[in-house]
Symmetry: C2
């Protein structure tokens, strides 16, 4: 495994692999790798000959009051984990390499797709993700890019970017990796104290409960969702959203229809830690 930090170096390495006729799958990460990331790396290895992982905590996707400063960083552990998984290249740029030091003149703006869910709660979040991933795609030029379903809105927005910007890349979503008690794995779970950690799977249980009711025929789940939010509050969560969204444009949907795909998704705080989770409904 090689670790490189400059754009010229990663391009040279990728060009080298491609000139041997190898296909490339790219797994962009912010480090603090857990079993969820490792499952994405394994999925990447199934799809392509070689895997490139990026480790970069992208400042552009954090709001001024968010956890950019405290976001977990553990480069040595991450590199060891990548090596064990048979990753070919790890790209570890710094901010200067990614964004330079001068003024940025270009902005990529999004309509509608980021109006609700995490986009609604975190202004600038998806603009920051789109900015950095568009750059990564042009730097690494992979054949495949692998992202987790946990960040379903990210996956849908980036898939749309690939389409509208004509990136020659196949987007692949990896399933949500969960702890034994159902909690979706996340680098931010490290923030939870013991008490919060015990309560944390409540979000997934709420989603599972709503999912079952919908599969049993509840096609207007508004009251049901409201009730589950009350239950979560009673368990110590502070709700951000818990709702059903259109798979196409990620707008909230009040009345579900058979034959359609939806995202049942929730975000809630336990203390200062923001948890997200989702279930895809193919009705």
């Amino acid at each position: 495994m090689k670790q490189v930090s400059t754009i010229d170096a990663i391009r040279a390495e990728v060009t080298g692999l491609k000139s041997q006729g190898k296909t490339i799958a790219f797994v962009p990460t912010m480090g603090a790798l857990h079993k969820g990331h490792l499952s994405l790396i394994r999925l990447a290895k199934e799809k392509a000959d070689e895997v490139v992982v990026s480790i970069y905590v992208n400042p552009e996707q954090f709001g001024p009051n968010e956890d950019f400063g405290s976001y977990p960083r553990q480069m040595e552990d991450d590199l060891n984990a990548c090596e064990e998984e048979g990753v070919a290249l790890v790209f570890t740029p710094n901010d200067k390499i990614m964004y330079g030091s001068g003024k940025k003149y270009f902005r990529i703006e999004l309509d509608e797709l980021n109006a609700h869910m995490d986009g609604g709660s975190r202004p600038g979040f998806f603009e920051g993700i789109v900015l950095v991933v568009n750059k990564f795609f042009n730097i690494v030029k992979p054949d495949y890019a692998v992202f987790g379903q946990k960040d379903i809105q990210q996956f849908q927005i980036l898939s749309r970017m690939v389409e509208e910007f004509n990136h020659d890349i196949e987007m692949i979503a990896g399933p949500i990796a969960r702890a034994n008690d159902g909690l979706a794995l996340s680098s931010r779970n490290a923030y939870l104290n013991d008490h919060e950690r015990k309560a944390a799977p409540g979000l997934y249980r709420a989603l599972k409960y709503v999912e079952k009711q919908i599969r049993d025929g509840v096609m207007e789940p508004g009251l049901l969702l409201k009730h589950q939010q009350d239950e979560l509050e009673a368990k110590g969560f502070k709700n951000d959203y818990l709702n059903v969204f259109s798979m196409e444009n990620m707008q909230p949907v009040e009345k579900l229809k058979s034959g359609k795909k939806y995202i049942l998704a929730g975000a809630a705080y336990l203390g200062k830690t923001r948890l997200i989770d989702n279930i895809i409904l193919d009705l």
Copy 2:
């Protein structure tokens, strides 16, 4: 020479050329090819093993009251010209291939660089250019892209896009091709009647006059420019702008400094035809 119209086809052809170890230079055009375009194609051939030309009148870069409908289209002549110049591939997509038929969620916005010159006079013009060229770059994935200096603001903005988006492409500017009387060649010159055509080189003469005065030491050319605008109006032009702009951020500059680069540029109408021209000042 091959003409292809779909994204899959152009990608397959370019991949074929690259797999033979060939470098690619890309010359995006809106067709109606004149000697200016041909000089860009020749420059492209000097830089790379093979040349790809796109011919596509991009609706996104025309305003509602501009000349999209009447813009000259002469595909057969253009293809013959490309063949004579030894172009390897001509990409001739239609609107559906370039933009699909559904809603577009992504916008690329620009700060400052498009506030003056043609960007100031043509709202949405450079957003439309950036939109289509970003797509072309991801579709064709050339090693070089060649644009004319006549559209100097376009060249500067796209160069900045290449930098901020990390396109792995070297931008090359070709010098302005001119008629014997100095008029910058342009597909829109076809709109000029005999009378207008005779007056048209006046714009370049005004720029040359101002250039000489600046080279002779006039470092605050405001009055000089105003006077030249009056002269142009007297010759039947309707002025849009005639000014000196910063090479870096394309803002108007009142007081010039030695050791700096500027763009001395003008745009003016003759009848309904909008002419542009420029001279780069390296003081």
